[in-house]
Assembly symmetry: C2
Homo-oligomer: 192 residues x 2
């Protein structure tokens, strides 16, 4: 299966890495302390860090990320208000990252699934579904194969432009969980 590098060592990093390792991929984790220097082994690189931490990785590693599949999982909330995103209206964190990494194949994924629903592969009684958006069909297929091998479903949400909608979806879900209207083991599921 695929070779994966995950920037980050938090809940989401571990949940995503767990799914991918379960599917037989080799998974490398790079901690914040090593993020500027560690060799990047993976063909698929998951930026499983908060949105404000993405820029320093991009600034330090853009050459090493050229040609690779780069997966943006962020929900770029304004945490001071919990009432908007910090990216320009109509755009997305993923589009911003693609603009800064023009030689990488940027995908949006994993921002619509809470860590617990990845770890268990269940949202309630539903199989967890990861929504993936991106402009490179081969990149989407490679990520989808690696995730599905780990027992989590994948749906192709369209071009990278749809990252705007995925980020709105993820933001809405976070506001509902923060307001205790849904649980962190629940959220939005996909019924085919």
């Amino acid at each position: 299966m695929a070779t994966i590098t995950i920037f980050g060592t938090g809940n989401m990093a571990n949940a995503i890495g767990g799914v991918l390792a379960e599917g037989g991929s080799s998974v490398q984790y790079i901690s914040e302390a090593e993020s500027g220097t560690a060799a990047i082994d993976g063909d698929i690189v998951v930026l499983a860090v908060p949105y404000p931490a993405v820029d320093s990785i991009i600034a330090a590693r853009s050459e090493a990320l050229a040609g690779k599949i780069v997966v943006d999982i962020t929900n770029p909330l304004d945490f001071s208000t919990f009432d908007s995103l910090v990216v320009p209206a109509g755009s997305s964190a993923a589009a911003e990252i693609q603009a800064k990494l023009p030689s990488s194949k940027v995908l949006k994924a994993f921002n619509t699934t809470f860590a617990a629903t990845l770890a268990t592969a269940k949202v309630g009684d539903l199989q967890t579904t990861v929504q993936v958006a991106g402009d490179d069909a081969d990149a989407k297929a490679a990520l989808a194969a690696a995730v599905e091998a780990g027992g989590v479903s994948v749906i192709d949400a369209g071009s990278l432009k749809r990252a705007h909608e995925l980020e709105a979806f993820g933001f809405l879900q976070l506001t509902l969980a923060a307001a205790e209207k849904i649980s962190w083991t629940g959220g939005f599921g996909v019924v085919r």
Copy 2:
């Protein structure tokens, strides 16, 4: 229970009216031909028409809608491209309608549930959940009570500002169904 007036006689109008009637509300339907003139009996008015048809109703009936709860169910897609919404980036159809009806209490609701999932009250094995956003808590509570009496769950998605996210959510869901990645009897469900 509540008195409801529904502008529109299509699939969504009938599905919404069915839920509300099931819950004991009185439901009046106003067809396109009568939309400029018919008396509006309901305290809650559902604009169950395509977004381009909303403006003529507002232009003709803004005085009659003053003081009422006005429910916007639209997904304001650009149907020529199926790749964006026609409302300004960062805004929503609901916000546009509220601006044009300053004396009404505008709610966003029913745009994240396909007609079939309202009619059956099920998304797969999940109870269908209507997401409602709006700035008037009493208006949201009145609509929620009328919907829940009809066997469909309701979740308070926050202020009317969240209509942007609900419209992104509805748009994404429509693109997935149009691409046959989900069915019109499925879609996104809510797990608490």
